[in-house]
């Protein structure tokens, strides 16, 4: 079985610790701003460091299923994104929120608990790490 490297374990532990801190913050406070700004700042530093590394244009070549991605095979996902955005906009302007929930209001309902907010924050961090490493 593949064992994660010590640096991966350290990153996951740091991310989990940061998520616990973020889960305890309240939106519209300096603490919440700081936690998110630090994570975004770190991502920017990593991306800039990758882009400016000597002789390494980090964007990798597509291979396998990635190379076979066509507009036709992407179309169902693009259609889903368009429908989600349209429904989100309709719900946002239709109101009231109880009758027309938006993604934000559904998230707010979940984020009442520290644990769920911390899990959501960890998922956001993981997605950011996935994007930065590609």
């Amino acid at each position: 079985m593949h064992r994660p490297s010590p640096s991966t374990v350290a990153l996951v532990v740091a991310g989990a610790a940061g998520s616990c801190v973020a889960g305890a913050t309240t939106p519209f406070t300096p603490a919440a701003d700081l936690v998110v700004a630090v994570c975004i700042g770190l991502a920017v530093v990593v991306v800039v460091a990758q882009a400016s590394a000597p002789g390494s244009h980090r964007w990798r070549r597509l291979d396998g299923a990635e190379a076979r991605t066509t507009l036709a095979s992407a179309a169902p996902w693009l259609a889903l994104v368009v429908v989600v955005l349209a429904w989100e906009l309709f719900s946002f302007f239709a109101g009231p929120r109880a009758a027309h929930p938006t993604v934000s209001s559904m998230y707010d309902a979940l984020a009442r608990w520290r644990v769920t907010k911390a899990v959501a924050f960890f998922a956001w961090l993981a997605l950011g790490w996935y994007l930065v490493r590609r």
Binding site: P27, V36, C39, A65, R68, S73, W77, W124, R134
Partner: protein
């Protein structure tokens, strides 16, 4: 009335799960999410767009 809104979101979620499942059985018909992200990230514009979207989502949901 919230039942309709909830039902539409649930349907959209189910559709996303169904697409995800089909993409693993027939990747030539429906692109896998990872392949889609890789294709988007292969250009500078797509890379910037996805990273900015990620940053906006974090700021919107967790800070504001």
């Amino acid at each position: 009335m919230s039942a309709l809104g909830d039902a539409v979101w649930a349907l959209l979620g189910l559709f996303a799960v169904a697409l995800w499942a089909v993409s693993y059985r027939e990747p030539d018909r429906v692109a896998r999410p990872g392949a889609l992200v890789a294709a988007a990230m292969s250009s500078r514009g797509g890379r910037v767009l996805l990273l900015v979207a990620w940053m906006f989502a974090g700021w919107h949901f967790f800070a504001r």
